[in-house]
């Protein structure tokens, strides 16, 4: 058994990372809720954000955490043509056609990354990224704390956007019943496009945060996609604040699993949790048990 300070550090780190990934998961969740689309390229949008952060730092010299709005705009802008030219024409064709199209986009993107940026793993090197925050034997990397704080603020911002604004009202209406919303004058296609762009922006910003904390490469997207899905299912589909809780819980349980069984088991715990929650609490474990 590792000493208590190390164990506490590992678990707090896990919780912080789960909170960072919750922002990406939120993007996945709103696209799934509004468009009935499991965006299989969501993990690759995250990688786009990570590369955007990397090159933002390289070419401007400005801290990419200050440039997050720019990164969000870049990734959102890239997602709009994907929606217009690939997804919108398939609107009448059921969810499978769009999902498989995004799967094809995902495998193309991964190969584009390899061709454009090589297969090397990289990270966004910030001078303070490696600084630890230490209290006695308890220590977590500063960048995790910063990333977590940014993620929480942005999740709250999205929550405000969805629950308090006119766009949010249209979004909720489209998610509940697209046909009825259209009858009442909601431009559902525009809402879907903006939702898709918002989801992509969440992934992109999440990617910049993750790229500052970790190494990433062209094929990193798949694992983040699956972990994001686990978070969505844990927190309950369509529950914005639940997604944050889901991220924290996933991070907590993953680091617990890693401590108990070895580091290789972290991701395994996530996948097992995903399938277990789907089987036994499909509305998320926050949902009150309906009779």
């Amino acid at each position: 058994m590792p000493d208590i300070g190390v164990a506490a550090s590992t678990i707090v780190s896990g919780v912080l990372l789960g909170g960072i990934l919750a922002l990406t998961a939120l993007g996945l969740s709103i696209v799934l809720g509004v468009m009935r689309l499991v965006n299989l390229a969501h993990g690759d949008f995250l990688v786009v954000g990570a590369y955007a952060g990397l090159f933002f730092l390289k070419f401007t010299g400005v801290d990419p955490l200050l440039g997050l709005p720019v990164i969000a705009l870049i990734v959102a802008a890239l997602s709009v043509p994907l929606y217009r030219f690939l997804l919108a024409p398939l609107a009448e064709r059921g969810p499978e056609a769009r999902m498989m199209t995004m799967f094809a986009v995902s495998i193309i993107l991964e190969n584009v990354f390899v061709l454009a940026f090589s297969a090397d793993t990289r990270s966004i090197e910030l001078s303070y990224a490696t600084l630890p925050l230490t209290i006695g034997s308890f220590s977590v990397p500063l960048i995790y704390v910063i990333g977590f704080a940014i993620s929480v603020v942005l999740i709250l911002a999205v929550h405000w956007l969805i629950s308090r604004t006119g766009f949010g009202r249209d979004l909720r209406a489209s998610a509940a019943d697209a046909q009825a919303a259209a009858t009442l004058g909601v431009d559902v296609e525009r809402v879907q496009m903006l939702t898709f762009a918002l989801g992509a922006a969440c992934a992109g910003v999440g990617g910049a945060l993750i790229g500052a904390a970790f190494q990433f490469g062209p094929s990193s997207g798949g694992a983040y996609l699956l972990n994001s899905l686990a978070i969505v299912v844990l927190g309950g589909l369509g529950n914005v604040l639940g997604t944050l809780v889901g991220g924290v819980v996933l991070g907590f349980l993953q680091s617990l699993g890693g401590l108990a069984l070895g580091d290789g088991y972290r991701d395994l715990v996530g996948m097992a949790l995903f399938l277990l929650v789907l089987a036994f609490r499909p509305d998320g474990f926050l949902a009150r048990r309906s009779s």
Binding site: M99, I108, N111, L226, G262, G264
Partner: protein
């Protein structure tokens, strides 16, 4: 219904496979290698087509059952000295059993979670094999005895593909096909008519998974050594998805045409792996948009289209 057409189809399949049995007498190693790959792919595509085309379940977990079949077959061959046919049969049973076990989780949300659930399941199994040293860890397992010679392996693959084709015919030409399509097109309406959607989907999923594991077992014996990254790799799922979309989802000849196309494309672009995958992705996007019933569906519609063009 369709009893005569079904009988003719079974006869045709029988003749074709009987003729192929003698292929090793006429072709060299390269030809057999290619034919072996086509047969394994055909098996996987038939079972995927059964799931998606008939039951409306889009799986990205082909690799999960291929890998499971490979590991079960190797375990039985290496540790229990099981004869090869027994090992393969148990591998198929294991595939079906796993499908039944996870179906309560995967059928949630009208199948929307099915795709990602199968993806997660494949990842779960891969990570298990990587982490548990009893399963060989990241380096994998080597088959203790030498694999059988290529012509014999080819015959195994031929029998497996025959089983898959006959199972598809049985599902497509009997009352089962009507039930499957009813569930795919409108689950609620089907339930109103007395069909139990969960059981129907479960049956299709178990059968498809058993066939996938069977194909995985044969493939693994041919390789002689397995490791988790290859056997549980996403490439299996990409290839199978491409075959059925290229050939035609839910169409009887779709799997065969798709398998031939994907193997040929793989051979043509063998030296350019990145381009190969990117081109596959582009083909998928174009076909999903413009030819949702694949090459076979497009060809079937061609006479009508020609007439339309001739008139215009």
């Amino acid at each position: 219904m369709n009893a005569r057409a079904g009988g003719a189809e079974v006869a045709l399949i029988g003749v074709a496979f009987a003729a192929l049995w003698f292929a090793p007498l006429f072709t060299g190693d390269y030809g057999l290698q290619i034919a072996f790959r086509v047969l394994i792919y055909l098996t996987l595509a038939e079972s995927w087509n059964l799931l998606a085309g008939s039951a409306g379940l889009v799986s990205l977990g082909t690799s999960c059952f291929v890998g499971l079949g490979a590991y079960v077959a190797f375990g039985l061959l290496n540790n229990l000295d099981a004869p090869l046919p027994v090992a393969l049969a148990v591998a198929a049973l294991a595939g079906g059993a796993l499908a039944a076990l996870v179906s309560p989780a995967l059928f949630r949300l009208r199948g929307l979670y099915f795709t990602v659930g199968t993806l997660a399941l494949a990842e779960l199994l891969r990570l298990t094999m990587v982490n548990v040293s009893a399963f060989g860890g990241a380096t994998g397992i080597i088959l203790r005895d030498d694999p059988p010679p290529l012509p014999e392996l080819f015959h195994y693959a031929l029998v497996v593909a025959l089983i898959a084709s006959l199972a598809m015919t049985a599902c497509a030409r009997t009352r089962v096909s009507v039930i499957l399509r009813a569930v795919r097109d409108d689950e609620d309406a089907a339930a109103q008519m007395g069909v139990r959607p969960f059981r129907v989907k479960l049956g299709a999923f178990v059968l498809a998974s058993a066939l996938g594991a069977l194909a995985g077992g044969v493939q693994a014996v041919k390789l002689g050594a397995i490791e988790p990254y290859g056997m549980f790799g996403l490439q299996w799922s990409i290839d199978v998805l491409s075959m059925v979309i290229i050939g035609g989802v839910g169409l009887r000849l779709g799997s065969l045409v798709g398998a031939l196309f994907v193997v040929a494309l793989g051979e043509a672009l063998a030296d350019y792996p990145e381009a190969h995958i990117a081109i596959t992705g582009a083909i998928l996007i174009v076909l999903i948009r413009f030819a949702p019933r694949g090459v076979v569906g497009f060809a079937a519609n061609l006479p009508g289209l020609m007439r339309k063009w001739a008139v215009a």
